[in-house]
């Protein structure tokens, strides 16, 4: 369970920026049960990234409280960070090691897993993003989409209770996208909550249990996919044509291999 209560977060404008600063997240209250697949949508700058970063304490709210599995994040940062896995919006911000294998192993090593367990997790996570057997490649020589996949694998390998993905599909090719979606489906079935941040719902709307739409930092929509689909275009978010609650993939593409 992730609980968000009355969370507000402001940013200063900086020396030459906007005078008053911006309210990136404005009095948001939400509760995300275990095993839920939640989409967070909204236009550029609506506060999506800022909001989800409060879940593991990367952003500290100015006011309000975030709890993970019942414990306030600010009281036990380590617990929040091992319970909430996160894929950053820009994979380059996330990768810390020199090679693919070393990067994916970084999280499990920090959790103190045994060597056998680390190997198992790295293999599973790389398989899930179609990067099996590429452990020894250098991060610096990967293409854009390959780098995104390694970032996702790194979060999967932590086997968190809650998985947050900030625009994870930009730059992925079709098989990788499908494989990641399959993996998210399995995780949800196994009780992990999955939170996907995006401004383009074509891939994920069919999978979701619920959609939260942000507008200027406030929750403007909070509904099941079918209901949300009607309101989201007003927030400058695109919805798949003819969305009817079936898989968005089925509604949207013809090219399943």
């Amino acid at each position: 369970m992730i609980g968000v209560e009355g969370v507000t977060r402001r940013f200063d404008g900086g020396a030459t920026g906007n005078a008053g600063g911006v309210v990136a997240v404005d009095d948001v209250t939400l509760s995300i049960p275990d095993g839920e697949f939640l989409i967070v949508a909204g236009a550029n700058g609506s506060g999506k990234t800022t909001l989800v970063r409060t879940f593991n304490g990367l952003v500290t709210p100015d006011s309000g409280t975030v709890t993970v599995n019942g414990t306030p994040v600010r009281d036990d940062l380590v617990a929040a960070r091992s319970a909430v896995g996160m894929v950053f919006q820009d994979p380059r911000d996330q990768l810390v090691a020199a090679t693919v294998g070393a990067d994916v192993a970084f999280g499990p090593e920090n959790l103190g897993c045994s060597h056998a367990e680390i190997d198992r997790r790295v293999d599973d996570a790389l398989a899930a993003v179609n990067m099996a057997d590429r452990e020894d490649e250098r991060i610096a020589s990967l293409s854009g989409g390959e780098r995104e996949r390694v970032a996702i694998a790194g979060a999967l390998a932590m086997e968190p209770d809650h998985l947050v993905l900030d625009e994870p599909f930009t730059g992925l090719d079709e098989p990788a996208r499908r494989s990641v979606l399959d993996r998210l489906r399995d995780l949800r079935a196994a009780g992990t909550s999955v939170i996907v941040v995006t401004h383009d719902l074509r891939d994920v709307l069919g999978l979701a249990d619920r959609v939260v739409g942000l507008s200027a930092g406030r929750v403007a929509v909070d509904d099941a996919p079918r209901g949300a689909a009607a309101e989201l275009p007003g927030l400058d978010v695109r919805v798949p044509a003819g969305f009817d609650g079936r898989s968005a993939d089925a509604a949207d593409t013809s090219s399943s291999p």
Binding site: A15, L77, R81, R92, D93, V96, N110, G154, M158
Partner: protein, 237 residues
Amino acid sequence: MTLSYVPDDSLAHRLDPRSKLLVQAGFAAAAYAYTTPRGLGALTLFAVAWLALSGGGPRDLWAYRFALPVLALAPLVAGATLGAPWFRVERAATTGLASYRVLLILVVAAGYVRSTPVRESRAAIQRSVPGKPGQFLGVGVALVFRFLPLLKRDLLTAREAIRARGGDALPVRDRMRLVAVAGINRAFGRADRLGTALNARCFAWNPTLPRLALGPADYPALAVGAGLLAAAVVPLV
């Protein structure tokens, strides 16, 4: 608060950066040539007026707080001796004046910083230093201004990336090494991507230089700068 450019419409803001650089050079030379109570007294008036003309005040000097302890302590160290008379006042006074002159030079420099945007400094450099060295310095300085906040952000996100994946559990020494290495790595990546961007956008040794023109107020300012320099040279001849 760091000392930095503040948009404003003061007299100093309207001066050409080259005039302001000449005034600063003249002032520093004069301060070294006249390190006497009378000389520094006159220069104090000038420095305070200069900072006021650029819209600044005492709060701009906060940026120099790290320099102040040295300047304050130096006279004590200079005066102290290992043996009678233990403290020599005249030695302390000499160093005291020397310290004070540094403070005045810092005040005048603060006036330049708060009244001159990067773009004008860059234009001044490129128009004063001829050829490739001028272009190297001008573009390079602009890039330093651009890199500085990005680099601080890179160091910060490197720390976040490590934290987000449970790195809090590691010993401090390992975390510092990881942050330093990840930060430098990102910085290298950034430099190489920026190099590529410069190339894709036809980065040339001979671009159209930014506009810069002396206005009516610049002639008195240039005269003041030249006068200070001349006054500094007089005692030498």
